[in-house]
């Protein structure tokens, strides 16, 4: 049949077939990018590429894209009543975060906006957005940056401290160096499970090399299709018995309006 066609028609058919192949290839590539890429990132452990591993860890720590969650921070100190604060955190993309203080009543209404490394705080007692720096302490062992900066890969350059996971624990150590001075911590040592990119423990260091705090990632629960750590315990090694627990709940992916992430909107936030 094909041979019976005229040469001109065969040429046209060849062109159509070629176009169809190209379209099919594009569709296949698109499908692979959309559906295969996440799986590819989850397979990063097989190649042990630090950048991909860190991106994979970020994917486990938080949903990507827009999402909202609640964070309950409980600060424990020896011989003192635990101190609790509760926040609603809205995240848009990789670098826009809005933190609304829900509890305690003394601080309720205080909100913090982070656009990249630019921070504003809005307090009911002042009624205007005030620019602040990233290092300002929030509560106990937890800094604004601990809540607001959700992605390691945006702030740190990773490298592997171990060539292979520890045979006893199965954990792999990564070293994360801050990309610039505006990042909350200068260096982070991160223990992960390479098979599933789950972070287990982290140590945060100052530029002087001093260990500022440690964090353990616990309470893994299925959120948005992945098991994610919903309980972070942060400790200051210099303060024995003092630690802060960050509990994540109500994590939900949803498209958030761009204007929520404007300092001018802070006065209008609903509590």
């Amino acid at each position: 049949m094909y041979e019976l066609l005229s040469a001109r028609r065969r040429t046209l058919l060849d062109k159509r077939l070629t176009k169809r192949h190209i379209v099919l290839a594009l569709v296949f590539a698109l499908v692979w990018v959309v559906f295969g890429a996440p799986a590819g990132s989850l397979r990063a452990q097989q190649t042990l590429e630090p950048e991909k591993l860190l991106t994979c860890v970020d994917n486990v720590r938080n949903p990507q894209g827009d999402y909202a969650l609640r964070v309950k921070v409980t600060s424990h100190s020896p011989s003192k009543e635990p101190k609790t604060a509760e926040y609603e955190v809205l995240v848009k993309g990789r670098d826009k975060t809005l933190i609304k203080t829900l509890y305690p009543p003394l601080d309720r209404g205080t909100s913090m906006l982070m656009l990249g490394y630019d921070l504003w705080v809005h307090m009911p007692t002042i009624r205007q957005p005030l620019r602040i720096s990233l290092q300002q302490r929030l509560l106990g062992e937890v800094a604004y940056g601990d809540i607001a900066r959700a992605n390691f890969s945006g702030d740190y350059t990773p490298s592997l401290l171990d060539k292979e996971p520890d045979p006893a624990t199965g954990l792999l150590r990564m070293e994360l160096m801050a990309k610039n001075d505006q990042v909350t911590y200068h260096k982070v040592i991160l223990w992960i499970v390479p098979e599933n990119c789950r972070p287990v423990r982290a140590e945060f260091y100052a530029p002087s090399g001093k260990l500022l705090k440690t964090c353990s990632y616990e309470g893994y629960q299925e959120v948005e299709g992945l098991l994610r750590p919903c309980r972070l315990v942060m400790e200051d090694p210099l303060k024995e018995g003092s630690f802060s627990v960050m509990e994540y709940s109500s994590i939900r992916s949803e498209e958030l309006p761009e204007k929520f992430f404007s300092k001018h909107y802070m006065e209008n936030l609903r509590y």
């Binding site: 919903c230 709940s249 761009e258 909107y265």
Partner: protein, 614 residues
Amino acid sequence: MMLNLRPISSWLRRDLLWTVLVLALCSLTFQTKTAWGAMNDPLAWDNEPKRVSATPRIVSGRVYDEAGGTIIEFFLSDRQVAVNMETVREDEILLRGLALGASQASIPSSSESVRWVHLDSPLAETVRIRYEEKIKHFDQPRLEQRERRLRVLLPLKGAETSTGPAPGGSVENSETIRPAESVEAATLLGENPEAAENSPGSLSLPEGVRLGGYLLHHSAYRSHSPRRFASLLNRLDLNLSSEISPWFSFTGEVWAQYDAVFDLFHDYSAQVGRDMRSDVIVRQAYCSLDANNFLISLGKQHIVWGETVGGLFVADAVTPKDLREFILPPVADIRKSIWALDVQWYAGNAHLEFVWFPSTEFHDLAEPGYDFYFPMRFAKELTARGSVAVQEPPVTLNNSSVGLRFSHLYKGWSTSFFALHRYDYFPSLAGAFTPTSTLPAERDLVLRYERLSLFGSTFSKDILGSVLRGEFLYTHNKPFRTQDPLEYDGLVDKDTIDYVLAIDHTFYSKLDTNFQFLQKWILNCDPELIEHQKDSYISLWAQSGFFNNTIQPEIFFAFQLEEPNYLVRPRVTFRFGNKTKLIVGYDEMGGDEDLFFGQFTESDRFYTYLYYFF
């Protein structure tokens, strides 16, 4: 003890009409919205009793489309929260059991018949419900309301489960239990009950309505003669936030306050007592329409355009101030709210704002004889003359004020530019023209308000861990008192430039500091002007925190460069628990009595502010 009702009647006259109008507008919109919702929302169950009880908690949910239908997905509260609930064992048991798997249930296609959803298996932490009817035709806000109204029944009859260790918890608590025969989850979706229990405004109010506020007792004791209390103020602040829909809301705030000093001590004039003793003030009463990139607010509201704080206002020029206690009260208390229409447009990093407001509010200044009788440039003349008539401009469309501001954020530089056409909030002391008086000395004095044009700019930038801030303001045709006999009313218009530069830095992650340099220039200044051509001020502020920031000492120091006069404000803030805050401090002002701070040298005071938030 007699309450002075003059301020209340004044408030009634001034604000009540406007408040009623705004409330009526909100109410009308709310009723329209409610009626619309009742007609169109098949899952509106307002008439059913809310059976919120010891149940698993649905703390969030979402709606998304999937092949074959729409999925409504709930997330139950995490197990750690349940473990911490000692009062309800069933909750703890159930939630632990629920974490074992996932379940799906179908809802009949007729959505109106759906009241309760029965799940085959309760062992699901995430409950997914397939809702067959496409609901894309609802807009997002209505979709959210639908979510909040959904209820779920989780039948556990006959189920038996075993409690495992809570995440991060101990295994010692493990035990085999028999759960209740049936557990209802009748929780309003989208709310976190625990947060609601702990939150300050957690009174039993309709959904979307929040009532909060604080009680304040403020004492001040004079350290100069006469040594006595200068203030014994008690205030109730009530603020109401009502989210009528995701795009429409009402915000209200009222102060009711009484200062006992003016009944306990009788050395203030009756005029001062009437002005300061008691008041009911509508601080906020406005509706907001929040749609797409627009935010439109109508009513009494705060509009703040400045970047800096500290009581030295430059670009914060939209709203007038209450200066009856000088600049000593908290900044938010000094600012007065205004009846205004505020239209904001958001476009990525850009922001455009238009304001329109009638000229009904001006600076509140203390009456003659009070500790902070202000400003000093009028004091001597007014004292010599006694009372002086105040001429407020009539409230007309021509006399109303408008402002426009454009803001932008680029590479960390936050900048804004604005123009404002309004009345001067300070009255100008002018010689009034009468048929019988021709010489300045014989003219009657009058306090009147003049029209101004203001152009300004602000910026802020984080550089090397420090925050730089600045404000710039150019004022056209600001009236000043002159001794030039040729100026008929004793006033001459001049242009002025005000600017402030500030830097914030935190030392060793412990000490927050702020340094500000502020300057005021009168352009083309004449020697006949009573005011100085240039006034320069420097302010320093430092604060630290101890014991988890429950004790926060701070100090503020401001002084003038040209002539020695200053303000020093050491104080300590104590936080008691989650609801109580005590501020103890001392205000000292010194310098020549004709200068900005020095005029109040005799008004130094110890003070306390005791807040209880609810």
